[in-house]
Amino acid sequence: MKWVQILVAEARRELHRSVAYRLEFVADQVLFILGFLLLSGLFYILSDGGYTEKQQLMSLVGFITWRVADGVILRSVSTIDEETQWGTLEQIWLAPIPPRLVFFCRSTIILVSYMLRAIFIAAILLLSLRLTIHFSISMFAVFLLAQFGVIGTAYILMGLQLAFKRTVSLTLAFTTSLLFVTGALAPIEHVYWLTIAVRFLPLGPGIHLLQAEIEQPLSMIHLWLSNEGIWLVCHSIVYLVLGQIVFAWGERYALNSGHLGQY
Protein backbone atom coordinates (compact mmCIF):
# COMPACT_ATOMS: atom_id res chain seq x y z
CA MET A 1 0.00 0.00 0.00
CA LYS A 2 2.92 2.34 -0.64
CA TRP A 3 0.79 4.48 -2.97
CA VAL A 4 -1.60 5.27 -0.08
CA GLN A 5 1.33 6.57 1.97
CA ILE A 6 2.47 8.70 -0.97
CA LEU A 7 -1.09 9.95 -1.59
CA VAL A 8 -1.33 11.08 2.05
CA ALA A 9 2.10 12.75 1.87
CA GLU A 10 1.15 14.56 -1.34
CA ALA A 11 -2.21 15.63 0.14
CA ARG A 12 -0.46 17.15 3.18
CA ARG A 13 2.10 18.88 0.99
CA GLU A 14 -0.60 20.31 -1.30
CA LEU A 15 -2.64 21.49 1.69
CA HIS A 16 0.35 23.21 3.28
CA ARG A 17 1.25 24.76 -0.05
CA SER A 18 -2.26 26.15 -0.49
CA VAL A 19 -2.16 27.60 3.03
CA ALA A 20 1.29 29.09 2.43
CA TYR A 21 0.13 30.71 -0.80
CA ARG A 22 -3.41 31.52 0.44
CA LEU A 23 -3.69 34.85 -1.36
CA GLU A 24 -2.93 33.20 -4.69
CA PHE A 25 -5.50 30.51 -3.79
CA VAL A 26 -8.29 33.04 -3.10
CA ALA A 27 -7.39 35.25 -6.08
CA ASP A 28 -7.53 32.20 -8.34
CA GLN A 29 -11.14 31.37 -7.36
CA VAL A 30 -12.28 35.00 -7.66
CA LEU A 31 -10.62 35.34 -11.07
CA PHE A 32 -12.42 32.32 -12.50
CA ILE A 33 -15.82 33.30 -11.05
CA LEU A 34 -15.52 36.82 -12.45
CA GLY A 35 -14.12 35.50 -15.72
CA PHE A 36 -17.11 33.27 -16.35
CA LEU A 37 -19.62 35.97 -15.36
CA LEU A 38 -17.92 38.39 -17.73
CA LEU A 39 -17.90 35.93 -20.64
CA SER A 40 -21.50 34.99 -19.91
CA GLY A 41 -22.54 38.64 -20.06
CA LEU A 42 -20.60 39.09 -23.28
CA PHE A 43 -22.32 36.10 -24.92
CA TYR A 44 -25.71 37.46 -23.81
CA ILE A 45 -25.02 40.82 -25.41
CA LEU A 46 -23.55 39.33 -28.62
CA SER A 47 -26.48 36.92 -29.05
CA ASP A 48 -28.91 39.80 -28.60
CA GLY A 49 -30.54 38.14 -25.62
CA GLY A 50 -30.63 34.73 -27.30
CA TYR A 51 -28.23 33.12 -24.84
CA THR A 52 -30.71 30.72 -23.27
CA GLU A 53 -30.63 29.16 -19.82
CA LYS A 54 -29.74 25.78 -21.35
CA GLN A 55 -26.85 27.29 -23.31
CA GLN A 56 -25.62 28.99 -20.13
CA LEU A 57 -25.72 25.65 -18.33
CA MET A 58 -23.81 23.95 -21.15
CA SER A 59 -21.19 26.70 -21.03
CA LEU A 60 -20.97 26.41 -17.25
CA VAL A 61 -20.47 22.63 -17.34
CA GLY A 62 -17.88 23.02 -20.09
CA PHE A 63 -16.13 25.81 -18.20
CA ILE A 64 -16.00 23.92 -14.89
CA THR A 65 -14.73 20.75 -16.59
CA TRP A 66 -12.09 22.79 -18.40
CA ARG A 67 -11.16 24.63 -15.18
CA VAL A 68 -10.38 21.34 -13.40
CA ALA A 69 -8.40 20.08 -16.41
CA ASP A 70 -6.54 23.40 -16.67
CA GLY A 71 -5.62 23.20 -12.96
CA VAL A 72 -4.47 19.57 -13.17
CA ILE A 73 -2.30 20.09 -16.26
CA LEU A 74 -0.85 23.45 -15.28
CA ARG A 75 -0.13 22.55 -11.64
CA SER A 76 1.35 19.15 -12.54
CA VAL A 77 3.78 20.75 -14.99
CA SER A 78 4.59 23.81 -12.89
CA THR A 79 5.26 21.60 -9.87
CA ILE A 80 8.21 20.07 -11.76
CA ASP A 81 9.39 23.53 -12.75
CA GLU A 82 9.09 24.77 -9.14
CA GLU A 83 10.83 21.73 -7.68
CA THR A 84 13.72 22.12 -10.09
CA GLN A 85 14.17 25.69 -8.90
CA TRP A 86 13.76 24.67 -5.25
CA GLY A 87 16.34 21.88 -5.62
CA THR A 88 13.91 19.21 -4.39
CA LEU A 89 13.18 17.44 -7.69
CA GLU A 90 16.19 15.14 -7.49
CA GLN A 91 15.13 14.03 -4.00
CA ILE A 92 12.04 12.45 -5.63
CA TRP A 93 14.37 10.43 -7.86
CA LEU A 94 16.27 9.39 -4.73
CA ALA A 95 13.21 7.60 -3.35
CA PRO A 96 13.09 3.81 -3.82
CA ILE A 97 9.90 4.02 -5.89
CA PRO A 98 9.30 4.92 -9.52
CA PRO A 99 9.06 8.74 -9.75
CA ARG A 100 6.04 8.20 -12.03
CA LEU A 101 4.16 6.83 -9.03
CA VAL A 102 4.91 9.98 -7.00
CA PHE A 103 3.70 12.15 -9.89
CA PHE A 104 0.59 10.05 -10.44
CA CYS A 105 -0.30 10.46 -6.75
CA ARG A 106 0.47 14.16 -7.01
CA SER A 107 -1.74 14.64 -10.10
CA THR A 108 -4.54 12.69 -8.40
CA ILE A 109 -4.36 14.95 -5.33
CA ILE A 110 -4.30 18.02 -7.58
CA LEU A 111 -7.38 16.62 -9.36
CA VAL A 112 -9.24 16.17 -6.07
CA SER A 113 -8.15 19.64 -4.92
CA TYR A 114 -9.36 21.28 -8.15
CA MET A 115 -12.62 19.31 -8.06
CA LEU A 116 -13.33 20.75 -4.60
CA ARG A 117 -12.53 24.23 -5.87
CA ALA A 118 -14.74 23.59 -8.92
CA ILE A 119 -17.68 22.64 -6.68
CA PHE A 120 -17.26 25.95 -4.88
CA ILE A 121 -16.96 27.94 -8.12
CA ALA A 122 -19.94 26.09 -9.66
CA ALA A 123 -22.10 26.73 -6.58
CA ILE A 124 -21.36 30.47 -6.67
CA LEU A 125 -22.00 30.69 -10.42
CA LEU A 126 -25.22 28.66 -10.27
CA LEU A 127 -26.50 30.94 -7.50
CA SER A 128 -25.38 34.12 -9.26
CA LEU A 129 -26.94 33.16 -12.59
CA ARG A 130 -29.99 31.52 -10.94
CA LEU A 131 -29.43 28.28 -12.82
CA THR A 132 -30.32 24.75 -11.74
CA ILE A 133 -28.57 21.59 -12.82
CA HIS A 134 -29.71 17.96 -12.53
CA PHE A 135 -26.44 16.30 -11.80
CA SER A 136 -26.42 12.54 -12.44
CA ILE A 137 -24.01 9.71 -11.65
CA SER A 138 -23.41 9.19 -15.36
CA MET A 139 -22.33 12.83 -15.68
CA PHE A 140 -19.89 12.35 -12.80
CA ALA A 141 -18.54 9.18 -14.45
CA VAL A 142 -18.02 11.05 -17.75
CA PHE A 143 -16.37 13.92 -15.89
CA LEU A 144 -13.96 11.58 -14.07
CA LEU A 145 -13.11 9.61 -17.18
CA ALA A 146 -12.38 12.83 -19.08
CA GLN A 147 -10.09 13.93 -16.23
CA PHE A 148 -8.14 10.66 -16.38
CA GLY A 149 -7.36 11.51 -19.98
CA VAL A 150 -6.31 14.93 -18.70
CA ILE A 151 -3.85 13.28 -16.27
CA GLY A 152 -2.42 11.46 -19.29
CA THR A 153 -2.05 14.83 -21.05
CA ALA A 154 -0.36 16.23 -17.94
CA TYR A 155 2.13 13.34 -18.10
CA ILE A 156 2.93 14.17 -21.73
CA LEU A 157 3.64 17.78 -20.79
CA MET A 158 5.58 16.76 -17.66
CA GLY A 159 7.78 14.55 -19.86
CA LEU A 160 8.43 17.54 -22.14
CA GLN A 161 9.17 19.70 -19.08
CA LEU A 162 11.77 17.16 -17.86
CA ALA A 163 13.43 17.09 -21.26
CA PHE A 164 13.25 20.71 -22.38
CA LYS A 165 12.61 22.76 -19.17
CA ARG A 166 10.61 25.99 -18.98
CA THR A 167 7.54 24.65 -20.75
CA VAL A 168 5.06 26.29 -18.36
CA SER A 169 4.24 29.11 -20.84
CA LEU A 170 3.64 26.55 -23.56
CA THR A 171 1.42 24.57 -21.20
CA LEU A 172 -0.52 27.71 -20.29
CA ALA A 173 -1.09 28.52 -23.98
CA PHE A 174 -2.17 24.92 -24.58
CA THR A 175 -4.66 24.75 -21.69
CA THR A 176 -6.08 28.19 -22.51
CA SER A 177 -6.64 27.21 -26.13
CA LEU A 178 -8.47 24.08 -24.93
CA LEU A 179 -11.14 26.35 -23.41
CA PHE A 180 -12.02 27.69 -26.85
CA VAL A 181 -11.32 24.81 -29.24
CA THR A 182 -13.13 22.10 -27.27
CA GLY A 183 -16.41 23.98 -27.30
CA ALA A 184 -16.33 24.27 -23.52
CA LEU A 185 -17.63 27.84 -23.59
CA ALA A 186 -19.33 28.29 -26.95
CA PRO A 187 -20.55 25.84 -29.61
CA ILE A 188 -18.10 24.97 -32.39
CA GLU A 189 -20.56 23.29 -34.81
CA HIS A 190 -20.10 26.04 -37.38
CA VAL A 191 -16.40 25.11 -37.80
CA TYR A 192 -16.60 21.67 -39.36
CA TRP A 193 -12.91 20.73 -39.18
CA LEU A 194 -12.85 21.68 -35.52
CA THR A 195 -15.74 19.32 -34.71
CA ILE A 196 -13.62 16.51 -36.18
CA ALA A 197 -10.36 17.62 -34.51
CA VAL A 198 -11.97 18.05 -31.10
CA ARG A 199 -12.71 14.32 -30.92
CA PHE A 200 -8.96 13.72 -30.70
CA LEU A 201 -8.03 16.62 -28.43
CA PRO A 202 -7.68 16.14 -24.67
CA LEU A 203 -10.96 16.88 -22.91
CA GLY A 204 -12.87 17.25 -26.23
CA PRO A 205 -14.99 14.04 -26.12
CA GLY A 206 -15.63 14.51 -22.38
CA ILE A 207 -17.01 18.03 -22.77
CA HIS A 208 -19.05 16.99 -25.80
CA LEU A 209 -20.63 14.13 -23.84
CA LEU A 210 -21.31 16.24 -20.72
CA GLN A 211 -23.00 18.95 -22.78
CA ALA A 212 -25.04 16.29 -24.61
CA GLU A 213 -26.18 14.98 -21.21
CA ILE A 214 -27.58 18.41 -20.38
CA GLU A 215 -29.58 18.40 -23.59
CA GLN A 216 -30.73 14.82 -23.18
CA PRO A 217 -29.86 12.90 -19.98
CA LEU A 218 -28.71 9.31 -20.56
CA SER A 219 -28.72 6.31 -18.21
CA MET A 220 -25.34 4.74 -17.36
CA ILE A 221 -26.05 1.71 -19.56
CA HIS A 222 -27.06 3.84 -22.54
CA LEU A 223 -24.06 6.04 -22.00
CA TRP A 224 -21.48 3.24 -21.99
CA LEU A 225 -23.10 1.47 -24.92
CA SER A 226 -23.13 4.59 -27.06
CA ASN A 227 -20.34 5.28 -29.58
CA GLU A 228 -19.43 8.47 -27.68
CA GLY A 229 -19.08 6.56 -24.39
CA ILE A 230 -16.81 3.91 -25.92
CA TRP A 231 -14.80 6.61 -27.72
CA LEU A 232 -14.30 8.50 -24.42
CA VAL A 233 -12.98 5.35 -22.68
CA CYS A 234 -10.57 4.63 -25.54
CA HIS A 235 -9.56 8.32 -25.74
CA SER A 236 -8.67 8.46 -22.00
CA ILE A 237 -6.77 5.16 -22.11
CA VAL A 238 -4.76 6.28 -25.15
CA TYR A 239 -3.82 9.58 -23.45
CA LEU A 240 -2.83 7.78 -20.22
CA VAL A 241 -0.61 5.32 -22.12
CA LEU A 242 0.85 8.07 -24.31
CA GLY A 243 1.52 10.09 -21.17
CA GLN A 244 3.49 7.24 -19.63
CA ILE A 245 5.57 6.81 -22.79
CA VAL A 246 6.43 10.51 -23.13
CA PHE A 247 7.17 10.85 -19.40
CA ALA A 248 9.53 7.85 -19.51
CA TRP A 249 11.24 9.35 -22.57
CA GLY A 250 11.58 12.77 -20.88
CA GLU A 251 12.97 11.14 -17.73
CA ARG A 252 15.55 9.15 -19.69
CA TYR A 253 16.50 12.23 -21.73
CA ALA A 254 17.05 14.27 -18.54
CA LEU A 255 19.06 11.50 -16.85
CA ASN A 256 21.20 11.02 -19.95
CA SER A 257 21.92 14.69 -20.43
CA GLY A 258 22.48 15.15 -16.69
CA HIS A 259 20.10 18.08 -16.34
CA LEU A 260 17.35 16.57 -14.20
CA GLY A 261 18.01 19.03 -11.37
CA GLN A 262 18.86 22.01 -13.57
CA TYR A 263 16.49 24.73 -14.72
Binding site: W93, L94, S257, G258
Partner: protein, 328 residues
Protein backbone atom coordinates in the same frame (compact mmCIF):
# COMPACT_ATOMS: atom_id res chain seq x y z
CA UNK B 1 45.06 1.78 -3.92
CA UNK B 2 43.08 -0.73 -5.95
CA UNK B 3 39.52 -1.95 -5.65
CA UNK B 4 39.15 -4.56 -2.95
CA UNK B 5 39.10 -8.23 -3.96
CA UNK B 6 35.71 -9.89 -4.59
CA UNK B 7 35.99 -11.69 -1.24
CA UNK B 8 36.43 -8.42 0.59
CA UNK B 9 33.71 -6.79 -1.49
CA UNK B 10 31.14 -9.18 -0.13
CA UNK B 11 31.83 -8.13 3.42
CA UNK B 12 33.27 -4.66 3.55
CA UNK B 13 32.55 -2.68 0.40
CA UNK B 14 29.58 -0.35 0.59
CA UNK B 15 29.95 1.26 -2.85
CA UNK B 16 31.94 -0.01 -5.81
CA UNK B 17 32.50 2.14 -8.89
CA UNK B 18 33.96 0.39 -11.91
CA UNK B 19 35.28 2.08 -15.08
CA UNK B 20 32.74 4.86 -14.91
CA UNK B 21 32.53 7.12 -17.96
CA UNK B 22 30.31 10.03 -18.84
CA UNK B 23 30.46 11.86 -22.13
CA UNK B 24 27.85 14.60 -22.49
CA UNK B 25 26.63 15.00 -26.03
CA UNK B 26 27.80 18.55 -26.75
CA UNK B 27 30.97 18.44 -24.62
CA UNK B 28 34.36 18.05 -26.32
CA UNK B 29 35.84 15.97 -23.46
CA UNK B 30 34.35 13.33 -21.16
CA UNK B 31 33.07 14.76 -17.85
CA UNK B 32 34.20 11.54 -16.16
CA UNK B 33 36.83 9.37 -17.77
CA UNK B 34 37.18 5.75 -16.68
CA UNK B 35 37.32 6.13 -12.92
CA UNK B 36 37.13 3.28 -10.41
CA UNK B 37 37.06 3.36 -6.63
CA UNK B 38 35.29 1.88 -3.64
CA UNK B 39 33.92 3.13 -0.33
CA UNK B 40 34.38 0.83 2.62
CA UNK B 41 31.63 0.35 5.18
CA UNK B 42 31.82 2.99 7.92
CA UNK B 43 34.45 5.05 6.15
CA UNK B 44 34.54 8.52 4.59
CA UNK B 45 35.91 9.00 1.10
CA UNK B 46 36.67 12.57 0.08
CA UNK B 47 36.24 13.19 -3.63
CA UNK B 48 38.39 16.21 -4.38
CA UNK B 49 39.10 18.22 -7.49
CA UNK B 50 38.98 21.73 -8.89
CA UNK B 51 35.79 23.16 -10.43
CA UNK B 52 34.73 21.17 -13.48
CA UNK B 53 36.71 18.12 -12.41
CA UNK B 54 33.63 15.88 -12.68
CA UNK B 55 32.88 15.46 -8.95
CA UNK B 56 29.17 16.31 -9.08
CA UNK B 57 28.63 14.17 -12.19
CA UNK B 58 30.29 11.27 -10.34
CA UNK B 59 28.12 11.75 -7.24
CA UNK B 60 24.98 11.97 -9.39
CA UNK B 61 25.91 8.81 -11.29
CA UNK B 62 26.33 6.99 -7.96
CA UNK B 63 22.86 8.26 -6.95
CA UNK B 64 21.40 7.18 -10.30
CA UNK B 65 20.55 10.79 -11.22
CA UNK B 66 22.82 10.79 -14.26
CA UNK B 67 23.16 7.78 -16.55
CA UNK B 68 26.77 6.88 -17.39
CA UNK B 69 28.02 6.34 -20.91
CA UNK B 70 29.61 3.15 -19.61
CA UNK B 71 30.68 1.58 -16.33
CA UNK B 72 28.94 0.31 -13.23
CA UNK B 73 28.00 1.41 -9.74
CA UNK B 74 27.14 -1.21 -7.12
CA UNK B 75 25.64 -0.26 -3.78
CA UNK B 76 25.78 -3.05 -1.20
CA UNK B 77 25.78 -5.53 -4.07
CA UNK B 78 22.89 -3.95 -6.01
CA UNK B 79 23.52 -2.29 -9.36
CA UNK B 80 22.25 1.30 -9.36
CA UNK B 81 21.14 1.20 -12.98
CA UNK B 82 19.56 -2.26 -13.24
CA UNK B 83 18.31 -2.63 -9.62
CA UNK B 84 17.54 1.01 -8.94
CA UNK B 85 14.94 0.62 -6.18
CA UNK B 86 17.01 -1.84 -4.12
CA UNK B 87 20.22 0.17 -4.54
CA UNK B 88 18.71 3.61 -3.88
CA UNK B 89 16.99 2.32 -0.71
CA UNK B 90 20.48 2.27 0.87
CA UNK B 91 21.37 5.83 -0.17
CA UNK B 92 20.73 9.24 1.37
CA UNK B 93 22.00 12.33 -0.43
CA UNK B 94 22.38 16.04 0.08
CA UNK B 95 23.24 17.46 -3.29
CA UNK B 96 25.38 20.42 -4.28
CA UNK B 97 24.94 22.18 -0.94
CA UNK B 98 21.82 23.71 -2.49
CA UNK B 99 18.22 23.71 -1.33
CA UNK B 100 17.09 20.16 -0.84
CA UNK B 101 14.03 21.21 1.15
CA UNK B 102 10.62 22.84 0.73
CA UNK B 103 11.16 26.32 2.13
CA UNK B 104 7.47 27.03 2.62
CA UNK B 105 6.99 23.92 4.75
CA UNK B 106 8.10 23.52 8.34
CA UNK B 107 11.02 21.30 9.36
CA UNK B 108 8.54 18.70 10.60
CA UNK B 109 6.50 18.69 7.37
CA UNK B 110 9.69 18.33 5.32
CA UNK B 111 10.75 15.34 7.42
CA UNK B 112 7.31 13.71 7.10
CA UNK B 113 7.17 14.26 3.34
CA UNK B 114 10.65 12.97 2.52
CA UNK B 115 10.24 10.05 4.92
CA UNK B 116 6.93 9.10 3.30
CA UNK B 117 8.27 9.03 -0.25
CA UNK B 118 11.14 6.90 1.08
CA UNK B 119 8.46 4.53 2.36
CA UNK B 120 9.37 4.72 6.05
CA UNK B 121 6.36 3.31 7.97
CA UNK B 122 4.37 6.12 9.61
CA UNK B 123 4.98 5.25 13.28
CA UNK B 124 8.67 4.64 12.68
CA UNK B 125 8.88 7.86 10.67
CA UNK B 126 7.50 10.02 13.48
CA UNK B 127 9.89 8.47 16.01
CA UNK B 128 12.85 8.81 13.67
CA UNK B 129 12.01 12.41 12.71
CA UNK B 130 11.88 13.34 16.39
CA UNK B 131 15.21 11.61 17.06
CA UNK B 132 16.90 13.37 14.15
CA UNK B 133 15.55 16.78 15.18
CA UNK B 134 17.00 16.17 18.63
CA UNK B 135 20.31 14.91 17.23
CA UNK B 136 20.71 18.01 15.05
CA UNK B 137 19.45 20.34 17.83
CA UNK B 138 16.47 21.49 15.78
CA UNK B 139 13.63 20.37 18.08
CA UNK B 140 12.88 23.94 19.14
CA UNK B 141 12.41 24.86 15.47
CA UNK B 142 10.28 21.84 14.60
CA UNK B 143 7.26 23.82 13.35
CA UNK B 144 9.14 26.80 11.97
CA UNK B 145 9.09 27.27 8.16
CA UNK B 146 12.43 26.33 6.64
CA UNK B 147 12.68 29.72 4.88
CA UNK B 148 13.23 31.27 8.32
CA UNK B 149 16.17 28.95 9.07
CA UNK B 150 19.80 30.01 8.83
CA UNK B 151 21.86 28.36 6.09
CA UNK B 152 23.52 26.09 8.66
CA UNK B 153 20.16 24.97 10.10
CA UNK B 154 18.86 24.27 6.59
CA UNK B 155 21.88 22.13 5.85
CA UNK B 156 21.45 20.21 9.11
CA UNK B 157 17.79 19.60 8.25
CA UNK B 158 18.72 18.48 4.72
CA UNK B 159 21.13 15.93 6.22
CA UNK B 160 18.42 14.85 8.70
CA UNK B 161 15.98 14.31 5.80
CA UNK B 162 18.54 12.17 4.00
CA UNK B 163 18.92 9.97 7.10
CA UNK B 164 15.19 9.27 7.68
CA UNK B 165 15.29 5.81 6.10
CA UNK B 166 18.54 5.02 7.95
CA UNK B 167 20.63 4.56 4.78
CA UNK B 168 23.99 2.82 4.96
CA UNK B 169 25.47 5.23 2.44
CA UNK B 170 25.44 9.00 2.52
CA UNK B 171 26.40 11.20 -0.43
CA UNK B 172 27.30 14.75 0.55
CA UNK B 173 28.07 17.15 -2.29
CA UNK B 174 29.68 20.32 -0.93
CA UNK B 175 27.90 20.13 2.44
CA UNK B 176 29.70 23.16 3.89
CA UNK B 177 29.40 25.43 0.87
CA UNK B 178 28.29 28.91 1.88
CA UNK B 179 28.31 28.14 5.60
CA UNK B 180 29.99 30.31 8.22
CA UNK B 181 32.89 28.87 10.23
CA UNK B 182 30.74 27.75 13.17
CA UNK B 183 28.09 26.06 11.01
CA UNK B 184 30.77 24.39 8.89
CA UNK B 185 32.39 23.06 12.08
CA UNK B 186 29.04 21.63 13.22
CA UNK B 187 28.57 19.87 9.86
CA UNK B 188 32.13 18.55 10.15
CA UNK B 189 31.33 17.11 13.59
CA UNK B 190 28.10 15.58 12.28
CA UNK B 191 29.95 13.86 9.41
CA UNK B 192 32.56 12.51 11.83
CA UNK B 193 29.82 11.27 14.19
CA UNK B 194 27.84 9.58 11.40
CA UNK B 195 30.90 7.70 10.16
CA UNK B 196 32.37 6.70 13.51
CA UNK B 197 29.28 6.18 15.69
CA UNK B 198 26.57 5.29 13.15
CA UNK B 199 28.90 3.38 10.79
CA UNK B 200 27.67 5.25 7.72
CA UNK B 201 29.75 5.05 4.55
CA UNK B 202 30.11 8.61 3.33
CA UNK B 203 31.15 10.07 0.01
CA UNK B 204 32.06 13.70 0.50
CA UNK B 205 32.93 16.27 -2.13
CA UNK B 206 34.36 19.54 -0.92
CA UNK B 207 36.68 22.38 -1.76
CA UNK B 208 37.50 22.81 1.92
CA UNK B 209 40.59 20.71 2.37
CA UNK B 210 40.67 20.99 6.15
CA UNK B 211 37.21 19.32 6.22
CA UNK B 212 38.50 16.41 4.12
CA UNK B 213 41.66 16.28 6.22
CA UNK B 214 39.60 16.10 9.43
CA UNK B 215 36.99 13.51 8.47
CA UNK B 216 38.15 11.48 5.45
CA UNK B 217 39.79 8.08 5.57
CA UNK B 218 40.38 7.81 1.83
CA UNK B 219 41.11 10.47 -0.77
CA UNK B 220 40.18 10.41 -4.44
CA UNK B 221 41.47 13.38 -6.40
CA UNK B 222 40.21 13.91 -9.92
CA UNK B 223 40.91 16.59 -12.50
CA UNK B 224 39.28 17.05 -15.90
CA UNK B 225 37.36 13.83 -15.35
CA UNK B 226 40.45 11.71 -14.77
CA UNK B 227 41.73 10.06 -11.60
CA UNK B 228 44.80 11.86 -10.24
CA UNK B 229 45.26 9.98 -7.01
CA UNK B 230 43.35 7.39 -5.00
CA UNK B 231 44.73 6.24 -1.69
CA UNK B 232 44.19 6.45 2.02
CA UNK B 233 44.62 9.90 3.54
CA UNK B 234 47.34 8.69 5.87
CA UNK B 235 49.42 7.10 3.16
CA UNK B 236 48.97 10.11 0.87
CA UNK B 237 50.14 12.55 3.52
CA UNK B 238 52.96 10.22 4.51
CA UNK B 239 54.07 9.94 0.90
CA UNK B 240 54.22 13.71 0.56
CA UNK B 241 55.85 13.97 3.97
CA UNK B 242 58.66 11.73 2.72
CA UNK B 243 59.01 13.84 -0.41
CA UNK B 244 59.76 16.85 1.73
CA UNK B 245 58.87 18.88 4.78
CA UNK B 246 57.74 22.47 4.95
CA UNK B 247 59.39 25.20 6.95
CA UNK B 248 57.25 28.15 8.07
CA UNK B 249 59.29 31.24 8.94
CA UNK B 250 57.14 33.67 10.94
CA UNK B 251 58.17 37.33 10.67
CA UNK B 252 57.43 40.26 12.95
CA UNK B 253 56.53 42.47 9.96
CA UNK B 254 55.88 42.22 6.23
CA UNK B 255 59.05 42.05 4.13
CA UNK B 256 59.71 44.80 1.59
CA UNK B 257 58.82 44.08 -2.04
CA UNK B 258 62.49 44.25 -2.99
CA UNK B 259 63.48 41.77 -0.28
CA UNK B 260 60.75 39.41 -1.39
CA UNK B 261 61.88 39.66 -5.02
CA UNK B 262 65.46 38.80 -4.01
CA UNK B 263 64.22 35.86 -1.96
CA UNK B 264 62.09 34.59 -4.82
CA UNK B 265 64.98 34.76 -7.27
CA UNK B 266 66.90 32.37 -5.04
CA UNK B 267 63.93 30.23 -3.90
CA UNK B 268 61.21 30.41 -6.60
CA UNK B 269 58.68 28.24 -4.74
CA UNK B 270 58.60 30.39 -1.59
CA UNK B 271 55.04 31.13 -0.49
CA UNK B 272 54.11 34.30 1.36
CA UNK B 273 50.90 34.26 3.40
CA UNK B 274 49.20 35.55 6.56
CA UNK B 275 48.62 32.76 9.09
CA UNK B 276 46.37 33.91 11.92
CA UNK B 277 47.54 37.50 11.41
CA UNK B 278 51.21 36.50 11.33
CA UNK B 279 53.28 37.17 8.24
CA UNK B 280 54.68 33.79 7.20
CA UNK B 281 57.12 32.65 4.52
CA UNK B 282 56.78 28.95 3.70
CA UNK B 283 59.28 26.86 1.83
CA UNK B 284 59.09 23.18 0.95
CA UNK B 285 62.08 20.97 0.35
CA UNK B 286 63.26 17.40 0.91
CA UNK B 287 66.78 18.72 1.60
CA UNK B 288 67.52 19.81 5.17
CA UNK B 289 70.56 21.87 4.10
CA UNK B 290 68.49 23.78 1.53
CA UNK B 291 65.96 24.65 4.24
CA UNK B 292 68.72 26.03 6.49
CA UNK B 293 70.07 28.08 3.56
CA UNK B 294 66.53 29.48 3.07
CA UNK B 295 66.29 30.52 6.73
CA UNK B 296 69.76 32.09 6.62
CA UNK B 297 68.87 34.04 3.47
CA UNK B 298 65.70 35.39 5.09
CA UNK B 299 67.79 36.48 8.08
CA UNK B 300 70.57 37.97 5.92
CA UNK B 301 68.04 40.00 3.93
CA UNK B 302 67.14 41.79 7.16
CA UNK B 303 63.78 40.19 7.95
CA UNK B 304 63.09 39.92 11.68
CA UNK B 305 62.33 36.26 12.40
CA UNK B 306 59.96 35.55 15.31
CA UNK B 307 59.54 31.82 14.97
CA UNK B 308 60.51 28.85 12.80
CA UNK B 309 58.32 25.76 12.46
CA UNK B 310 58.84 22.54 10.56
CA UNK B 311 55.71 20.66 9.57
CA UNK B 312 54.39 18.08 7.14
CA UNK B 313 52.35 19.32 4.15
CA UNK B 314 48.61 19.81 4.66
CA UNK B 315 46.08 18.09 2.42
CA UNK B 316 45.48 21.44 0.75
CA UNK B 317 49.14 21.69 -0.22
CA UNK B 318 49.15 18.08 -1.40
CA UNK B 319 45.98 18.75 -3.41
CA UNK B 320 47.45 21.84 -5.03
CA UNK B 321 50.64 19.98 -5.90
CA UNK B 322 48.66 17.10 -7.40
CA UNK B 323 46.25 19.20 -9.45
CA UNK B 324 48.95 21.64 -10.61
CA UNK B 325 51.13 18.71 -11.70
CA UNK B 326 48.17 17.32 -13.64
CA UNK B 327 47.47 20.67 -15.30
CA UNK B 328 51.10 21.10 -16.40
Amino acid sequence: MTLASPAQAATSLAVTIRNLNKQYRAAPHPAVNNISFAILEGSVLALLGPNGAGKTTTVKMIAGLVLPTSGDVDILGCNVFSQRAQAIAHVGAVLEGARNLYWRLSAWENLLYFGSIRLVPRRQLIQRADELLALFELTAHKHQPVREFSRGMQQKLAIACSLLHDPAILLLDEPTLGLDVKAAKTIEEIIGYLASERRKSILLTTHQMHLAEEVAHDIFVMNEGVQVVYESKESLLKRFDMQGKIVDVELSSSPAEETLAQLRSAFPSVDQQMNGGIETLSYSSHNQQEMLTFINTVDTLGCRIDNIRYRRPTLEEVFLTLTEKKTT
